[in-house]
Amino acid sequence: MSIINYASREIQFKIVYYGPALCGKTTNLAYIHTQITPENKGDLVSLATAADRTLFFDFLPLNAVVIKGFKTKFQLYTVPGQVIYNATRQLVLRSVDGIVFVSDSQWDKMEENIESLKNLRENLAKQNMDLDEIAYVLQYNKRDLPGVAPVEYMDFALNNGKKRVQSFEVISTTGQNVFAALNAVSQQLLYKFTKESDAGKKDPISVA
């Protein structure tokens, strides 16, 4: 849950990148880390195994724009994608404000995508949260690889909750649409603070 601090004039948000193993969550954070100016970012912390697989989480603190006199601070986390680390994923989801679900567009990964999204809903439910109620966007990653499913199929398989959410065709290795997805989920977070909060009612936007 976000914290608004009137003493330091700061608002803190927590965004978690979720998705199946090897879908590109850490690559998303690594790309963002390379693009943000040093004064607006902290170190990218990776708690990974010797083989560079995420063991606990990756963490990247960022400062963003000032809104209404408040500096916005974002904490980006990834979860370990491997199935066995579910207890860890539940820990990382604590007090989450926004989710970027990173899916792997390759046909042979579709089952893992669907399983991971189901796991996300289950883990949120354990802390009385509902994916349909929080800021949430979808990434269809690895669009540059051969053997990827068309966007329409990705939508059919993954963007099928109570409401259609914003989805992005992403190539996290080159950074394509990585910031578009981050900006979208951040905007949704801010809209939660508007009285006439209608972030969930907006038409879904697909960015090619």
Partner: protein, 155 residues
């Protein structure tokens, strides 16, 4: 309640007063109050020696992992954690169900002293945080669509 949504200047002053007093008595370098999601509620002490945001995230992760370990052996949680370094040390303790206090100290003091003063500081913090949560439930922070539109892309 999962977290503290709104901290006023008075709230932060009250927390910082407890932390300052604790730092002075325990002769520690840094004290940070965080929620169990890793968000910083307040901090006092020498803030230049490390990135407190990262310390908070890692401390919350470490505490959460340890809680799971505790549950596996039939404990509710280990309410304190101590990491001993060559020169710098970290002591973490549970303030209440949702809050952790993290203390960084060096060989100028001892873990016994830190642990001793932590007990009192935690009890005071718990009182402050309880008052704050009751009050905070009635406060709101709102933005207008114009505020958000004027900000443009955040990154």
């Amino acid at each position: 309640m999962e977290a503290i949504p709104i901290l006023t200047i008075d709230d932060v002053n009250a927390i910082d007063q407890v932390l300052s007093d604790f730092l002075q008595k325990s002769e520690s370098q840094l004290a940070v109050v965080i929620d169990k999601g890793g968000n910083i509620i307040s901090q006092q002490g020498d803030l230049n020696v490390m990135d407190v945001t990262i310390v908070a995230a890692l401390a919350a992760g470490s505490f959460a992992a340890t809680k799971e370990l505790a549950r596996r052996i039939g404990e509710m949680e280990f309410n304190a954690l101590y990491h001993q370094g060559a020169g710098m040390h970290i002591f973490m303790n549970s303030v209440d169900e949702n809050t952790i206090m993290v203390t960084v100290f060096n060989d100028q003091t001892t873990v016994g002293l830190v642990r001793f003063y932590t007990a009192n500081a935690s009890a005071q913090l718990e009182q402050v945080l309880n008052r704050l949560r009751e009050k905070s439930a009635n406060e709101t922070f709102t933005l207008t669509k114009e505020d958000i539109a004027n900000a443009g892309n955040l990154f």
